[in-house]
Amino acid sequence: MRFTVLVMIAVGIALYLGGWSARWAVEHSSEIGTVVVGQWQATPFAGAPDADPYSKARLAMLGNLTLGIGEGIQFRSDSDGAGRPLRRECTYVIEGTTPPARIFTLAAYLPEGQLLRPSAGRPGWLTSNNLMRQDDNSFEITVGSRARSGNWLATSGSGRMTLVLSLYDTPASAASGASSLSLPTVRRESCDNG
């Protein structure tokens, strides 16, 4: 009887602790295999056959369509240069340059990945082909709910958001040097309610 109880304790601990820790690890292991550049994070190995098991498990749970390693790389940011979370009621200025890429796009999403689609006629996403640039090829994009001259990415509503900068057909996605890239900075300009 005593022995049975001990076995049950051992098995119970193994199953419960093992299952819980696996779940916790998948949900909180986002930094494994993640490359951080300034405010931007990317998981260049997501979907690669030789990715680490945690990234694979995470990807299976999220079910995203990943960009292949040869296709491009997707950087996400949910905080500004000062570390404050990005909010839809605020206006941000994104300036700088990206690593060489044939195309890059910038769009705003909810943290769960739904696209922020502003009302009709407003630009909900930008592509590099249509950007206005400075003489030195750098660009400045204003993200906010009020129309701006120059490059403007429209947002709407309030709450948190995630900016996604996707580079397509870029040598940066050959993951070797992803952490030494220079990416644009995100600066908060103003907020509607202070």
Partner: protein
């Protein structure tokens, strides 16, 4: 007391094993992976469009619990499409009958979501999207049986089931009709080796004559 301690230790070690087993099993048992989300959108070998998840202020809460076939962080600047296929019957030809000058990028994944192959418009022959996906043996049989079109690219993969995704850039709204036509002209056709094809077509022809 010592035995209880031993039981606890065995439990902790067992937890480690369970942890490792769960992590490794996850890609195969997860119900909401890329494959099953594509399966919600359409039948095998059917080309389906993947739309970006929308958010309107009212539906934010409703859609937080993602429903069938929805993918997060889909790039709105692209028309994204995909199809699932199986290599058990022979190689699969994925091709578009039209060409489009827009930037496109395609990838092939196995069922677990491992990216096995990528191609874009620059690496394609004459900008044509024409892939023959199969295992090594299937591709050898196929090339022995018939001549492939010049633009066709054989893609050798070791898997039985997988899916393809393609993204076509729409950088200006005026280009959307062309891109739509390009994506609509894509097919994921099983293309078994010759004798199987001829038997099928004879059988099909006979039954049509009979009926």
């Amino acid at each position: 007391m010592a035995r209880l301690f031993l039981a606890l230790m065995i439990g902790v070690v067992g937890a480690g094993l369970v942890h490792i087993a769960v992590i490794f099993a996850m890609p195969d048992v997860a119900r909401r992976n890329g494959w099953s989300r594509l399966a919600d959108l359409g039948k095998p070998t059917e080309l389906v469009r993947v739309e970006a998840l929308d958010s309107t202020p009212d539906s934010v809460l409703a859609s937080a619990d993602a429903a069938a076939g929805e993918f997060a962080f889909v790039d709105p600047a692209f028309v994204t499409a995909g199809c699932r296929f199986s290599l058990t019957e022979g190689p699969v030809r994925i091709h578009a009958t039209q060409n489009d000058p827009a930037f496109w990028s395609a990838s092939i994944y196995n069922r677990r979501g491992d990216n096995l192959y990528s191609i874009n418009d620059r690496s394609a022959v004459a900008n044509a999207f024409d892939l023959l996906v199969g295992t090594h043996d299937q591709l050898v049989d196929k090339s022995a049986a018939e001549d492939a079109p010049e633009t066709q690219i054989p893609v050798e993969v070791e898997m039985t089931e997988g899916y393809m995704t393609i993204r076509v850039l729409v950088d200006e709204e005026s280009k959307r009709p062309n891109v739509d036509a390009f994506v609509s002209s894509m097919k994921c056709q099983p293309s078994p080796v010759d004798d199987a094809v001829s038997t099928n077509s004879i059988a099909g022809g006979a039954s049509r004559q009979g009926g």
